[in-house]
């Protein structure tokens, strides 16, 4: 499965790129995070405390337990600070 993975704010800064294409067989978001974390230290740094990371699947807020089947775009970012 091929996913577009986007990063924002300090998650982006830690990982070093705003977006990338990821080949993965991860079933859930949590699986994808675990897989990325083992790849390189910068992912481990970004995902060190998941209580401070939010995820959106195809531009809709979601949870780490959500399944990735059919998803094209995954985004990771800190809690939002709009307004």
């Amino acid at each position: 499965m091929q996913l577009e993975v986007l990063y924002f704010a300090w998650v982006r800064e830690r990982i070093g790129v705003p977006r990338e294409t990821v080949q993965t067989e991860a079933r859930t978001v949590a699986d994808l995070v675990a897989e990325l974390t083992t790849r390189e230290e910068r992912y481990a740094a970004a995902f060190a405390d998941l209580s401070t990371v939010r995820v959106a699947l195809d531009q809709t807020l979601s949870g780490f337990e959500a399944e990735l089947a059919g998803v094209r775009e995954v985004a990771f970012f800190p809690p939002m600070t709009g307004g």
Binding site: Q59, A75, M80, T81, G82
Partner: protein
């Protein structure tokens, strides 16, 4: 246009007048506006504020919030403007305007929109001073504010 996501500065007063004029023609007796301004910092003067956003999701999220407000209250109009990019101290960051026949609806809808924009619209603020840059932390009280609409 009822949702504007833009880097350009906007004129809150001119937007309010344009919005009120349309709302009056639509039966409004009450117009509420909220404007968020870039605050300077107490400890170290702010060089600028940078606002990052998630193009595409931003518009979707705000449209969804706006549609929910229109469902919950009897409104004559609802407007959201939010900037991204580089902002200076004192600049308007964003504004919300709501109009309704009665004030209770206009106030409630404006507070609802603000509470959701704070925690559910994909914007991230960074404060830049001579000492460096830091991301603005989200506040537990902003997340808690959503409970009253549940």
């Amino acid at each position: 246009m009822d949702v504007l996501i833009q880097s350009e500065v906007f004129d809150a007063g001119a937007e309010l007048n344009r919005f009120s004029q349309r709302a009056a023609n639509n039966g409004a007796g009450a117009v509420v506006s909220f404007t968020g301004l870039v605050r300077d910092l107490a400890d170290s003067p702010l060089s600028r504020m940078e606002i990052e956003h998630y193009p595409g999701m931003t518009e979707r999220a705000i449209e969804a919030i706006r549609a929910e407000a229109v469902t919950r209250w009897s409104l004559s109009g609802a407007l959201v403007i939010h900037r991204h990019g580089q902002l200076a101290a004192g600049d308007p960051i964003m504004m919300v305007a709501t109009a309704a026949p009665h004030r209770v609806d206009a106030f409630a809808a404006a507070e609802f929109l603000m509470d959701y924009l704070k925690s559910r619209a994909p914007f991230w603020k960074k404060e830049v001073t001579a000492q460096g840059a830091s991301w603005v932390d989200s506040k537990a009280e902003d997340e808690a504010a959503l409970d009253r609409w549940a």
